[in-house]
Subunit: 405 residues, 2 copies
C-alpha cells in the first residue's frame, strides 16, 4: 500500500462507480449452505473487457461462449450460476449458454453479445434453463450488490473472497474491486476458479488486456491446490471509465498505480482461494530468487508449491529440505547444486547446496503457523517468482474420496 493505494473497507466488485449486481436462488446448489446461486454483474456503460480462460481441452460451453464474445474486448454484463458447470453435456451446453445470455440481455436492455456467462459446479448435468430464466426475472441490480454476488458464485468455499482498492488521479478517484471463488470439489468436478474484477478507470481494451495479463500471470497462474485444472476456470476484468478520470495511457504514472491495484486485487483473491483450499489450513509461499530467467523461476516456484511430498511435509511442520530441493531439481529451473541456498521462514536450512545445522525445534515451531515461506536462492541470476500452495492433509483425502457420484 506504499504508493498511494488505499484498501477500501468491505471493498468488492461493486465498489467501482457504475457497476451494480443482483442475485437470487433457483435451487442449483442443494449441497451448499448458502443458497444464492444466480447473479448478474452489470455496468451502466459498455466496458473494455479482458478474459482469461482454462487451458483444459475439456471446456464448459459457458467458457466457449465468453471466449468468442470477449474477442472484441467489449462487454457490459455477466451472468453467473453456481451449482452446475455446463460442461460435458454435448452441444446443448452451448445452446443453453446462448439462451441464458439472451434472456439477460432482454432483462437488462443490452445487446446480446455484450453479456457474458460463467458457470461452476457439477459437470455432466444440464442447466435447467427455464428455471434460470424465471430466476433472472427476479434479479434486481443494486449499487451495493457485490457482497451477495460474491455469495452467489461460491460452491463449497467456506467463505466469500472480496477486495477493493482505490487511488487518486487528478482530483478524482479510481477504484478497483474484485471477487473470486475456489476450491470446492464436488461431484465429478474439480476446483473451479472464478475471479471477476472491475474498475471505473477509462482504458482501452488492448492496454487493459496487457495489464490484466501481467496481474493474472503472477497471481491466479501461480497458485496450486492439487494440480488439477477445471473445465470452467475463468478470470474476467471489466473497465467502464465511470470514474470520470482521463483515459489511462501506457507509460503514465496512473498506469503504474492501476497496475499495482490490479496486482494487489489479483494476488489477494488468488491467495484467498489457496487459503480456503479443501482440507487446507496452511498457506505455502514459495519464492525462487537468483534464477537465470523469469520462466525458470516461475517453473521452480510452482513445482515446489505443487509437490505432494513438500505439501505433506509442511502439513507435518517438517523442514524437509530434501523434498524441496528435489522438487526444484525436477522443474524447468536450471540449477547448480553447489550454489543453492534455502530458507524456511527466513531461517537458513541449506547453503551452497549442503544442509546447514539449524535449530530444528524452532523451525518446527515456526512452521506450525498458518503461513510457511520457502525461499530458494539459486545464486545464478537476478530473476525471481513467487507461487502459493497449501498443505495436503488427511482431511483432503477423506473429503475427496467420499462418494460423490
Amino acid at each position: 500500500m506504499s504508493s498511494g493505494l488505499t484498501k477500501i473497507d468491505r471493498g468488492n466488485i461493486t465498489s467501482p462507480k457504475g457497476f451494480t449486481a443482483g442475485s437470487t436462488f433457483v435451487g442449483l446448489k442443494t449441497y451448499a449452505e448458502d443458497k444464492l446461486d444466480l447473479g448478474i454483474l452489470m455496468s451502466v456503460s459498455p466496458c473494455s473487457v479482458a478474459g482469461f480462460y482454462t487451458l483444459n481441452k475439456l471446456k464448459s460451453h459457458s467458457v466457449t461462449l465468453d471466449q468468442e464474445r470477449t474477442m472484441n474486448g467489449r462487454a457490459q454484463a455477466l451472468v453467473v450460476n453456481s451449482g452446475i458447470a455446463n460442461a460435458c453435456v454435448g452441444h446443448q451446453g452451448y445452446i443453453d449458454a446462448s439462451d441464458i445470455t439472451k434472456k439477460v440481455s432482454e432483462h437488462l436492455g443490452l445487446a446480446n453479445d455484450d453479456v457474458l456467462i460463467c458457470s461452476t459446479g457439477l459437470i455432466g448435468v444440464e442447466l435447467p434453463v427455464s428455471l434460470i430464466k424465471t430466476g433472472i426475472d427476479r434479479i434486481v441490480q443494486k449499487e451495493d450488490g457485490g457482497h451477495d454476488l460474491a455469495r452467489a458464485i461460491i460452491t463449497t468455499d467456506t467463505r466469500t473472497k472480496e477486495i477493493g482498492f482505490n487511488f487518486r488521479h487528478e482530483e478524482k478517484i479510481i477504484t478497483v474491486g474484485g471477487i473470486s471463488k475456489g476450491s470446492g470439489m464436488i461431484h465429478p468436478n474439480m476446483a473451479t476458479m472464478l475471479a471477476f474484477i472491475t474498475t471505473d478507470a477509462a482504458i482501452s481494451p488492448d492496454l487493459l488486456k496487457t495489464m490484466a495479463n501481467k496481474s493474472v500471470d503472477q497471481s491466479f497462474n501461480m497458485i496450486t491446490i492439487d494440480g488439477d485444472t477445471s473445465t470452467n476456470d475463468t478470470v474476467l476484468v471489466f473497465a467502464n471509465g465511470e470514474s470520470g478520470c482521463p483515459e489511462i495511457l501506457d507509460g503514465s504514472p496512473e498506469q503504474a498505480l492501476l497496475q499495482e491495484s490490479l496486482d494487489q486485487v489479483c494476488v489477494f483473491l488468488a491467495k484467498e482461494i489457496v487459503r480456503d483450499g479443501e482440507g487446507a489450513n496452511k498457506l505455502i509461499e514459495v519464492n525462487v530468487e537468483g534464477a537465470s530467467s523469469r520462466e525458470e523461476a516461475r517453473s521452480g516456484a510452482i513445482t515446489v508449491a505443487s509437490s505432494t511430498l513438500v505439501k505433506t511435509a509442511i502439513h507435518g511442520n517438517d523442514p524437509n529440505w530434501g523434498r524441496i530441493v528435489a522438487a526444484l531439481g525436477r522443474s524447468k529451473c536450471e540449477i547448480i547444486e553447489e550454489k543453492i541456498a534455502l530458507y524456511i521462514n527466513d531461517i537458513c536450512i541449506m547453503e551452497s547446496g549442503i544442509p546447514t545445522p539449524f535449530p530444528k525445534d524452532s523451525v518446527v515451531a515456526i512452521m506450525s503457523g498458518e503461513e510457511v515461506v520457502i525461499r530458494l536462492n539459486l545464486n545464478l541470476g537476478s530473476e525471481s517468482a513467487t507461487a502459493w500452495g497449501c498443505n495436503l492433509s488427511e482431511e483432503y483425502v477423506t473429503f475427496n474420496s467420499a462418494y460423490t457420484t
Copy 2:
C-alpha cells in the same frame, strides 16, 4: 507368456548364467527391518550395459559416476548400498563413489571403470566410506545370491521385487532376470526407484540400449506414485553372453523374444513398485486408446494416473468420470469431447463425451478390488499407451507428514 517365454520359479537377477551376487550389512539402514544394506552384482565376463538415469537436475554422485562409466556401453559389476543416497553432500559424494568402486574393483579383480555404483536412502548425509570398504571385504559372490541382493537394495519397501523369464534359442536357453526397489519415502528423500536387469544373451551395447530403452519407456517411465522424482532413480541392464547362444541380431526372431522378455521383466518390476507404494493398496491401470499419436496417448495415460483427484476418487471406489476426463483434458493429448468413451473395469461410464447411465453399485463394488482399470478411447487414431499409478490414502499423508528430519 504366449510366445514361448517361460516364467522362472523364484527367478531373479542371478537366474541368467554367469551372474553372481553377494550381500552384507554395515548399519546404514537403521530404520528398516531388513538390515542387509550393501551388495555386489558381478558377471564372470564383461557385459554390454545400458543405463537409464533420473532426469532430476539434482543428482546423486553415484548417478553421475555411472553416467560417465556406461557411456562406452560396457561394465562388469555393480555395488549398491541402501540407507544413504550419496546426494546433496557436495563434491565429496563423487570422491566417495569413486573410492567405493575402486575398492570393489580390487576386491573382485576387475578394472575400476567396469564397476558401477547405486545408492538409495537419506540425502544430505555422507557415506561412511571406511565402514563400507570393510563391508565389501566380507562380501562373498554366490550363484544364487540374487534374492539377498533384492533384500539389500530395498529401503522402506514392504517386500522384495524379483522376476525371471527364459526362452529357447537354437537348443540353448536365454534367461532374463531382474530386481527392483521403490517407494520408501524417508528423511528428506523421496521414492527412489532402482531396477537392475540381467541377461545371458549375447548382444551389442547399441542394440541392448535400443531394446532396453523401449522396455523402460513403457514400464518404469509410465509409473507414478506421487509425481516426485528422485535424485537417484536408475535402471541398469547387463548382458554377458554366457548363455552360449549366438549374438542377437536386429530383426531376428530371437530379438523379438528377448524384447518381450525385457518388456515383461520391466513391466512386472515397475508394477510391483506401484503396488508397494506408500499407503497404497490399489493398482490403477490407465489405458488410453484411439489417440492420434503415441506421445499424446502416453501423456494422457500418465496425467490421469497422476491426478490427485483421480487417486483420491479411486481410494473411495468412486467412478468419478468427471475427474478422469478433466485430467485427460489438461494433458498433452488432443481430444474431441464428443468422441470420448470411458470404461472402468470394462463397464462403460461415458460415451460420445456424455456420461451414460451405469449400474453404480456394481461399479463401486468392482472398484473395491485391488486393481482398477481405466480405459479411455479417444476415437481419433490408432495409438495407445498404458500407465500405472496407485490410490492416494490418508495413510500416505500421515506417513509422509510425520517428522522425518
